[in-house]
Amino acid sequence: MDNMLCDELLQEIFMKLPPSSSSSVSLVSKRWLSLFRSSRTSLSLRLLPPFPGVASLCSLLSDHSSLSSLSLFLSSDSAATAASTDSAVSDYILAAVSSCCPRLRALRFMSGPVSLSSLNSLSTACTRLTSLCINLPRPISLRWVLSFPSLRELAITWSSGGQEIDPSNQLEVWESDEIGTELGLQSLCLVGIRRDDWGVGWLWSSCKKLKKLRLQSCQGIGGPYSSFVQCLQNLEEVELRTCRSVIDGVLFHLAENCQFLNSLLVYDGGSRDGLLYFFSHCRSNLQKLDLRLPLDLNNDHLSAMASKLRGLLSLRLQNCCLVTGEGLKLLGTSGASSGLEELALINCDVVERESGLLATLGQHLRQLRKLDLSHNELLLDKEFISMSVSCTHLSDLKLRGCKGLTNAAIVAVLRSCKFLENVDIMHCGGIESEAIEVFVEKCPKLRRINVEENKLSDEAKTWASNRFIEVVV
C-alpha cells in the first residue's frame, strides 16, 4: 500500500479535509508534509512572540507553493510593547511574505502598523493582489494604493495611539496632483479615522467604481465631503459601525447621491435627525436594512420607512428599545414590506411587551422565509405561535435565548412550517429533549439544527444521522 496513491490523488484527498486535520496530516511522513503544504491554497497563521526568524518563516511559506490566500495574526505579549518594535516586526514579516508568496491574491495582515516602504515591496512582489487588509501608521498617506492596480478590496485600520497630527501640516499639495486617477476598488473598509485626520480625500475622489463601503469607529471621514460624494455614484452596500460623530454627514450625502444603494447597516451610533433625513429622502430602492440602534431608532423612522421604501426584502432590528408596536405594525403592513423575506427582531422588547404584535406581523408577512426572534427572553409561546401559524413558508428560524418558549412552540412550528431547513434553539431553557426528538424526526426538510448537546437524546441523534441533518452544538 506504500506509495499507492499518486501525488495528485493524495492532494485531492487533502482538499477534502477540515482544517483540524492539518497538524496530523503534516506529521505522517515527509512526502505527506510536502504534498499537503503545496496543495493548500489558503493558510491562516497566528504568530506569538518570540516571533519566528526570517529563514524559518520563508521556508514555511515557500512550502505552500499554491497559496493564494494568507491571513497572518501577530499577537503581542504585552500592551506595553512599544509601537515602534511592533512596526519593525511587522515589516520584516511582511517582507518575508512579499518574497515568498508572489502568487498571493488575498492578504490579511493583522499586526502593528506597517511602513510604507514595506507596502511598496509588497506591491512589486505580489502583483496579483486583489484583496488587502492592513494596519497603517499616522499620518494618513494613501498614495501607495496606486501601486496595486489589481486591488479590488481594501481594508485599512489606523489604530489608536500615536501622536496627534497638526492638520495644517498635512500634505494637501500632492492631493491635487492625483486628480483624475481612477482606482478599480470595489470594496473599501476604513477603521479608526480620527476627527483631525486628513488625507483620505484623494481616495474618495478616485474610487468611482466603489460598490461596498464600510466605516468603523470613525470620528471623521478624513477629507472634504466634496471628495466623499465622488465615490457614492455606484455604491450598493454601506455599513456604518460606531461612527456616531460622523453619521449625520454621511447619511445626508448617501441620501442625496446614491441611487443604487440596496443595503444599509448602522450599528451602535446613529443620529435621530440624520436617520430621519435619510429615510425621508433616500432615492435608492433599499432592500436590506440592518439596524442596531438602542438610543436612536424610533417610530418616526419606521413611519418614514413605511412611506418611502418600496421593495424591502430584509429587515433586521437589534436592541431597538424605543420602537413600539405601532411603528412596527405601520411598517409591517405597508407596501414597503409586502415582499419582505427576512425579519429579525433581536432583543427588541416590544415583541415581549405588546401582545398581538407578532400576530399582526405574521398575517401581513405570510411570505416570510427567515425569522429571527433571538434573545427575547420573555417571549411567550402564545405570541410566537400566533405568528408561526401565518408564516408557513419559513425556511430559517432562530430563537436563540428565548427562555420563555416551551415545547408547545416547537410542536406548533412542526405543524405549520413544513419548509423549515435551519433552526436555532440554543439556550431555550423551556424546550425539552422529547419535543426536540420528535422535531428532528418529523420536520420534513430539516437540514441543520443548533441546540445543546445534552438536549439531544440518543434517538434524536440517530434520526439526525439517518436523515443527514447537521447538528451544531
Partner: protein, 165 residues
C-alpha cells in the same frame, strides 16, 4: 452510421468480461468519449489496470446512478429530497468496503475512468478515514513509515501548536 449500441463489454485486467448498459457507461467520461465518437465501433473495452473485484463494484455504482438519473428525468427533472437522501444512503453503504486497499483501488479506478461522482465519493471516504486520527493511526491505515527524525517531529509539533489554526 453504426447501429445504436445498447450494451458494451468491458474486460478487466484479469481477463473477465462484463456487460454494461450504455446509460451506465456514460457515467464514465472516458467511456462516454468512446461511445459518442462515431468513428469508433465498440466491441470490447479493455481496462487494464482494474481488477475484476474492483470492476464489479465500479459497474454497480455506474448502473445505480444511471438508473437514478433516468428515474429523475421521468419525474420531470427535479430529484425529490427523499430520493436524493436515499441515493446518499446507498452511496454510504456502497463505500463500506472491508479492506482499505479496495477503497484506494476504487478511487484509482474512478480516476482512470473519469467517473466524477464515484471519484468525489471515494476521495471523501478516504478523507473521512483520515479525519480525527493521529499521525500514527494514519500511518497504520496507509502502511507508511515515519521518516521524520525526533527533532524534526518535535519542531513540527511546536509549529502546529502555537501557530497554525
Amino acid at each position: 452510421m453504426s447501429s445504436p449500441v445498447e450494451q458494451i463489454t468491458v474486460v478487466s485486467s484479469d481477463g473477465d468480461e462484463f456487460k454494461m448498459t450504455v446509460a451506465a457507461a456514460m457515467q464514465s467520461e472516458q467511456l462516454k468519449q468512446m461511445l459518442t465518437d462515431d468513428s469508433i465501433s465498440i466491441v470490447k473495452v479493455p481496462v487494464e489496470n482494474i481488477s475484476t473485484e474492483i470492476l464489479v463494484k465500479v459497474i454497480e455504482y455506474c448502473q445505480k446512478h444511471a438508473d437514478h438519473e433516468a428515474a429523475t428525468k421521468a419525474n420531470g427533472g427535479g430529484a425529490s429530497d427523499s430520493e436524493a437522501e436515499e441515493l446518499n444512503k446507498w452511496d454510504a453503504e456502497f463505500m463500506k468496503v472491508d479492506v482499505e486497499d479496495k477503497l484506494f483501488h476504487i478511487l484509482m479506478a474512478a480516476n482512470y475512468l473519469e467517473i466524477k461522482g464515484l471519484f468525489d465519493l471515494a476521495c471523501q471516504t478516504v478523507a473521512d478515514l483520515i479525519k480525527g486520527k493521529t499521525p500514527k493511526q494514519i500511518r497504520k491505515i496507509f502502511n507508511l513509515k515515519n521518516d521524520f527524525t525526533p527533532e524534526e517531529q518535535e519542531r513540527l509539533s511546536r509549529q502546529h501548536n502555537c501557530s497554525f489554526d
